[in-house]
Symmetry: C2
């Protein structure tokens, strides 16, 4: 409509006061005569004045925005984390600046740099970057919380407690009468995959120390679960439970078992990891990740340090919750 929208100086002129008074009046600050304030507010309304957040940020050195750098996450995972962040962020009066999908480390680094001056802090989930590469990429002086990073280095970190999740699953299986467990692992090199594999070995040592630790390779995808089961059947292995590193592979394993004529979950119990929506429909026993909570906590910690609290710079774990369904029936009470 009109050329450009009203600035604070337009309001000042219209109300016949100085810009300082306008600023003070509109921010409810210091001492402003009630009558002056009323005049300013009226002028602002008639001019349709909306403060320019960018200018304010510049002069206050505070943007009230936090940046989020994520890899190319899929569906549920992405949406849950971001939802949690968004909830907390809104509650604390901040905004979220997204920068998703970064193919390689260079792009991710560039994305992080391009946020300097736009955000007060960063939440970074960058599987491609190691600790030192990350320190180089982070704009100096911008606090950060690392989510799911292999090594948070000197920063605050958030991570899923994979060990607790796997331990709960193994304990549950052993407790319901299973003895010969097999783990279908995630892709090598993936943080969660690696942790879950190691945790499986640890959990077996704790709950079934007399049994061997059996692990077959997988890839977090449905076919991976199918192929793993096919390999197991081919070598005629004896097992009565499968602990898949995530739900999708558990699904694949389940269908592969059934099409091969194996009684699942009767003869072979199956567990997953993640609790995707499908798991509920298929009755899959699994662990729920509380991703939204993790996102919210990451924001909460970041905002806390932004607002002066001590920066803990510690790694905080989010404990998954065991969800028992029908793929792990109890064998101990026949």
């Amino acid at each position: 409509m009109k050329g450009r929208s009203a600035t604070i100086r337009d309001v000042a002129r219209h109300a016949a006061v100085s810009v300082a008074s306008v600023s003070r009046a509109l921010n409810g600050l210091n001492s402003v005569h009630p009558e002056t304030r009323a005049r300013v507010v009226a002028s602002a309304k008639t001019l349709g004045y909306v403060p320019h957040a960018g200018a304010r940020s510049l002069s206050m050195a505070r943007t009230h925005a936090i940046g989020v750098v994520l890899p190319d996450l899929h569906g549920e995972f992405f949406s849950e984390i971001v939802r949690g962040m968004d909830r907390e962020t809104g509650a604390r009066g901040y905004h979220l600046l997204l920068s998703n999908m970064h193919a390689d480390a260079e792009l991710a680094a560039q994305a992080m740099r391009s946020m300097r001056g736009r955000v007060d802090g960063l939440i970074v989930m960058a599987p491609q970057l190691d600790a030192t590469g990350l320190d180089e990429a982070l704009p100096p002086g911008v606090p950060a919380v690392l989510v799911n990073a292999r090594d948070p280095g000197g920063h605050a970190g958030m991570r899923i407690d994979n060990a607790a999740g796997i331990d709960a699953l193994v304990a549950h299986l052993v407790g319901s009468g299973r003895r010969d467990l097999v783990h279908i692992a995630g892709p090598a090199g993936n943080i969660d995959g690696d942790e879950r594999r190691a945790s499986f070995a640890a959990a077996m040592a704790r709950h079934a120390p007399d049994r061997p630790v059996r692990i077959v390779a997988g890839n977090f995808r449905e076919e991976g679960g199918q192929q793993a089961v096919a390999a197991l059947l081919r070598e005629d292995a004896a097992f009565d439970a499968i602990v898949a590193a995530n739900d999708m592979m558990a699904l694949g394993a389940l269908t592969a078992l059934r099409t091969a004529g194996v009684d699942a979950p009767g003869a072979v119990a199956v567990t997953g990891f993640d609790d995707i929506p499908l798991a509920r429909y298929l009755g899959l026993t699994t662990v729920r990740l509380h991703l939204a909570e993790m996102g919210a906590r990451a924001v909460a910690r970041l905002v806390d340090t932004l607002e002066g609290a001590e920066d803990a710079r510690t790694l905080e774990l989010v404990t998954p919750e065991l969800v028992v369904r029908t793929t792990t029936p109890d064998r101990t009470s026949p």
Copy 2:
């Protein structure tokens, strides 16, 4: 570490040139002597200089960010739209500023205002706001694309083509031998629910004009589908197909039919709307929404108008895609 991070003046001092030269050198602009440029680049690197995006935005009156105002969307829906936006936004060199979850119109309006000076344009999905309320809430001079708005008024709009989706489903059902279709509607007042209900009537008139238009109430949730089926069975209605207004209700309908002993999909075919991930697993015939594409198109249109193209201010529809699965078996070729 060091007190505050380097500014352009620090670089200028270090390289013994003026700030203007630094700016020109780093932006690959105009005419800068190669040697000078090299010196500037070297200084910038040793000082760890990262440009301050906020300051740049202020002076250029361009933020290269676009704001997104969404209601509290759940899972798949939210994530798909945002994913599409993010993809396009990254490809065009922009950022995405999220402001999710706005309980009422007032909060949504406030969220939109708070974005002035932070973004170059807005993508708004605000079911609570009507056209005029929206025009008041929009900061002046900020172009906007409205997603799923009942009436885009004078703005550009994006919407799912509900009529095309319902028509495809009804055509498919009638084509496979069904005649007595029942629609389980969405909640009254919801845009998509209303459109789908009206479209169902229109589609029936087109493809099965001799049959009555039967509609029962629903609420987009699983129980809604169950309750609708219960009501139908209670009144002993004769029907051989159910067209649910979304997938969740279709699921509810399916399970309710089966637990009531009705042969589904043999005696009663069932269709949904949305194509949520579960639909594939349950073999539900439905239509796929291409939400990511809608988000991407919204961004593309917005960026186009920001970069000078003609602003079409037109309502653009995204056509859903029919996905035929097992809940609608063919009856015409016995």
